[in-house]
């Protein structure tokens, strides 16, 4: 598959994504500067983590107006696969490609740690290689990962089965203690109604090899590789 990784000023996981896709998953990867509008015909767009525009104003608020994001929105509207990781998730929410917002962590600390997430939906192009309720060990690194959506929005997420992964303990239990950042209902990642856009705070780009402490991120990349969905 061909992956295009967007690069904003302040992105810092763009090379993690490039590495995991090219060297670990053995796929074609191209980097797309945020001022470019040509996505170079990818099968999947990756909006990586980092601190685009220094997190000024709100995380992702300025990046979402970069020229490349118009192309990403068009690509998503045609059914193309888009995954946003960490700051990428924040950007997709700001851009309106995903509902809700990521606000300051409940304990106002920047959290850099291993977390467990439970696959709530494996009928998405991003999780189809996972078993139902599979527990994945994937690290987080963020200061604003506290997912919020209003009551009507939360109902919409549930009605359409858009809550894809939730923070849990090692046994898959959804406990308050296993929710690192105060996210509403332990939400760690969601997809859009059409299921071709996915955002999550944990980093599958940093967890696809045993030497990094976990290879569970590999399941998400493997899902994308085995999915038949693509831009029309």
């Amino acid at each position: 598959m061909r992956f295009s990784v967007t690069v904003f000023p302040g992105s810092n996981c763009d090379h993690d994504c490039e590495y995991v896709l090219r060297d670990v998953e053995k796929q074609d990867v191209q980097m797309i500067w945020h001022k470019d509008t040509d996505l170079k015909n990818p099968d999947c767009v990756v909006v990586p983590g980092g601190f685009s525009y220094g997190d000024y104003l709100r995380t992702g608020a300025i990046a979402r107006f970069s020229p490349v994001m118009k192309s990403v929105a068009d690509f998503a509207a045609k059914g193309g696969l888009v995954i946003g990781i960490c700051n990428g998730f924040q950007i997709l929410c700001e851009a309106g490609l995903l509902p809700g917002a990521l606000i300051r962590n409940k304990n106002i600390k920047f959290l850099c740690q291993s977390t467990y997430i439970r696959v709530e939906q494996n009928n998405t192009p991003f999780t189809n290689a996972c078993k139902p309720n599979q527990v994945l060990k994937i690290p987080i690194a963020h200061g604003e990962g506290n997912y919020f959506i209003d009551a009507a929005g939360l109902k919409g997420l549930k009605d359409n089965n858009q809550i894809v992964v939730r923070y849990c303990d090692a046994n898959g239990q959804l406990t308050p203690e296993s929710n690192p950042n105060g996210s509403l209902e332990n939400i760690a990642g969601i997809c859009n109604v059409n299921r071709n856009v996915f955002g999550l705070m944990p980093h599958p780009d940093r967890s696809a090899e045993d030497i990094l402490g976990s290879h569970d991120g590999h399941y998400l990349w493997q899902s994308i590789l085995s999915s038949k969905v693509g831009a029309k």
């Binding site: 104003l57 709100r58 107006f65 929410c93 700001e94 917002a101 606000i103 300051r104 409940k106």
Partner: protein, 84 residues
């Protein structure tokens, strides 16, 4: 002379404000026991060319808040316009 717009962006009441809660705890610890709630928001100043009408300034300021300065999912905003 130019139009001076003061924009106040605040988290909606339904959104938790961990920063405000931390500031409140600090204030209470400092002895300001009467402070029962703190909400931290953002204050932004915009300058517009003097040639615009007040209605145009308000219209543009409104758009700017909706599109960029505030995230309607979590924040509310208000602004004042004055000629300085």
């Amino acid at each position: 002379m130019a139009w001076h717009v003061s924009v106040y962006v605040t988290l909606k009441p339904s959104v938790m404000d961990p920063q405000g809660a931390t500031v409140q705890r600090a204030l209470n610890q400092m002895g300001y026991k009467a402070v029962t709630d703190v909400r931290v928001g953002k204050f932004t100043e915009l300058e517009f060319e003097a040639g615009l009408s007040e209605a145009d300034v308000k219209k543009q300021a409104d758009e700017i808040c909706d599109k960029l300065l505030a995230n309607p999912n979590i924040e509310a905003y208000r602004f004042t316009v004055e000629k300085k």
